[in-house]
């Protein structure tokens, strides 16, 4: 299974066990995402959006079903292989930014580059990207000295520094005001256009979802609608 898709899932299921109780988070998700597609995923809390993200991002294995990411069958990968996938193929942008608080913005980006096995200094192209993100002059500050919008733009810079094929953004504007939200969404769309990265974005906000090429609606662990 691949069919030219960057991401493809079939009958994907995930069940969490809390003591004796089984909680189904995904109840058979079929999804195909083309390379370079910007896909928005919307749905209420508990609809399974984040679980789908975690599986595609190789943070957790599925209970059953098939999931292919960049040609790899994630259900068959070991823990170490999934770690390698996160290092080179998939990267994340989180609602809470998730920058390392002890490090400057520059060091946060450098850590990602180091873990990804790339040379310490990114190239001129990346410097240009930092200028586009508007954080060139904020790189020597720690996260506590940056605004929410700046932190999220640093998180985006960190996510793309290793040129991953897929960018997973989990409510990237959830903690931002309208102005910063629009700026971050514009950056994501620009990155998608400029670098051709496949982007999956979870959002509650229909306006934010409209930045994507297509919007998928989830409810109760299933995809109920795909628009666009």
């Amino acid at each position: 299974m691949n069919n030219g898709h960057m991401i493809e899932t079939r009958d994907l299921r995930k069940i969490y066990r809390v003591g004796e109780v089984e909680i189904p988070a995904l109840r058979g998700v079929d999804l195909a995402v083309a390379p370079g597609e910007f896909l928005s995923i919307v749905g209420p809390s508990g609809s399974g959006k984040s679980t789908l993200f975690h599986i595609i991002g190789a943070l957790t294995p599925p209970t059953s079903g098939e999931v292919y990411v960049a040609g790899k069958d994630l259900s068959k990968l070991s823990d170490a292989e999934r770690t390698r996938l996160r290092k080179r193929t998939v990267s994340f942008v989180f609602q809470k930014f998730n920058l390392l608080p002890n490090l400057t913005a520059r060091a946060n980006i450098a850590v990602a580059r180091y873990i990804g096995g790339n040379p310490a200094e990114p190239g001129a192209e990346f410097e240009e990207l930092l200028r586009l993100l508007g954080i060139s002059n904020r790189l020597d500050h720690k996260p506590s000295a940056l605004s929410g919008g700046e932190q999220q733009r640093v998180a985006i810079a960190r996510a793309i520094v290793n040129h991953p094929a897929i960018l997973l953004a989990d409510e990237p504007t959830g903690n931002l005001d309208t102005e910063n939200s629009q700026a971050v969404l514009a950056v994501l769309r620009d990155l998608n256009n400029r670098l051709g990265q496949t982007i999956l974005m979870i959002t509650h906000n229909p306006e934010a979802a409209a930045y994507g090429h297509r919007t998928v609606h989830m409810r109760d662990g299933r995809i109920i609608e795909s628009v666009g």
Partner: protein
């Protein structure tokens, strides 16, 4: 980059880092102080024995002690007998009386003492001029704040400080032999006899002859006596040092274990972030282990610095009783002990961090 992560983590919680360093430094200081005390006392004893200028020493044995019922088992008459033997240049009887161990009062025949080694170097005052005169060395004078002319009570007897001498020749505290014999009821008896050979190369030959002459005494060359002042020959010192070293490992282990355990707990989310970036288990474990190594190195440096503090304190307060020295070649040993404890202590927290579930770690508040 790993170094930046480790250093920034340590800097981020300076009080905990500082306390960890301090706690890891304590066993290093304990080890270095113990070794410094042992080596210092042995070195001091060796130097003072050598300073007598004798080549052979005759001591009483258990048998002679039992006969004499005293710490002065050798008849003083042996001194004259020994002096008449071939290859003997000079013999000198000495009476010892232990006060506050390791301090000992030596009753000496000052004329023979002067002949044997050129005598004390006087920093203040002069030699004995009366039976109640006492000579003390620089360290004992410093410890007891004594000056020439002061009165001092030892063994229930009042002494007059006649002179303060440079250390390194047999005694920290010396009194006339006859006075000490009176006080100890050891008339015409001595504890040991120091014998100077006509030529130092005859020491072994002379020792053999004296063994034949006084078979119930213990006869040793000065070279043998000096060689005996080794920590290996003092019962219990080796074992005690080992116990302190094991304690060092255990303390290092516990300090790092608790510090790293707390650190890993507080950094759960950060570990989740690193994992989401693709950090392997080995990378996470390495960060924790390197942090432990940094703490161990810092703790060792602090421990060495604190050992200088202990050295200064002891030299200021009790320089005569405890002649501690600094033993630099034990620094790496103490460091290695701390490092072993730290690496062991960081192992479980490190493995625990490495095996965190990234999703749970990212959700940790």
């Amino acid at each position: 980059m790993t170094g930046t992560l480790v250093l920034e983590n340590l800097k981020h919680r300076p009080m905990r880092s500082l306390l960890s360093l301090l706690l890891m430094g304590v066993p290093v200081t304990l080890i270095l102080a113990l070794v410094g005390l042992t080596q210092g006392m042995l070195q001091d004893a060796r130097e003072r024995q050598r300073g007598v200028g004798a080549d052979v020493v005759v001591h009483g044995t258990a048998a002679t002690s039992a006969v004499a019922f005293t710490g002065a088992p050798l008849p003083e008459g042996y001194v004259d007998v020994i002096e008449k033997q071939p290859h003997v240049k000079l013999a000198m009887g000495v009476l010892n009386h232990n006060i506050d161990l390791p301090l000992v009062i030596f009753g000496i025949d000052i004329k023979k003492f002067d002949q044997m080694n050129g005598g004390f170097t006087y920093l203040e005052g002069h030699t004995f001029q009366g039976p109640d005169d006492i000579l003390v060395d620089r360290l004992y004078a410093s410890q007891k704040h004594l000056h020439v002319g002061d009165a001092i009570s030892l063994m229930g007897h009042n002494w007059h400080v006649a002179g303060i001498v440079e250390s390194g020749k047999l005694a920290r505290i010396a009194v006339p032999l006859a006075t000490l014999q009176d006080l100890d009821a050891a008339h015409n008896h001595v504890t040991s006899i120091f014998v100077q050979a006509d030529n130092p190369s005859n020491a072994d030959l002379l020792a053999e002859e004296l063994k034949k002459l006084i078979p119930d005494a213990s006869v040793n060359t000065m070279a043998d006596i000096v060689a005996m002042y080794s920590s290996n020959n003092i019962p219990g010192v080796k074992e005690f040092t080992l116990v302190i070293m094991v304690l060092g490992v255990i303390i290092g282990f516990l300090v790092v274990y608790l510090s790293m355990y707390m650190s890993v707990l507080q950094r759960t989310r950060e570990i989740g972030i690193l994992k989401s970036l693709g950090a392997s288990k080995g990378f996470i474990l390495a960060i924790i282990q390197i942090e432990a190594v940094v703490l161990a190195i810092g703790g060792t440096i602090l421990g060495v610095i604190m050992s200088f503090g202990v050295w200064w304190l002891i030299r200021t307060l009790v320089p005569a009783s405890i002649p501690m020295i600094i033993v630099p070649w034990w620094w790496p040993i103490a460091g290695a002990i701390t490092l072993v404890g730290a690496l062991l202590g960081a192992l479980y927290p490190g493995l625990s961090a490495a095996s965190h579930d990234p999703i749970e770690a990212l959700a940790y508040e």
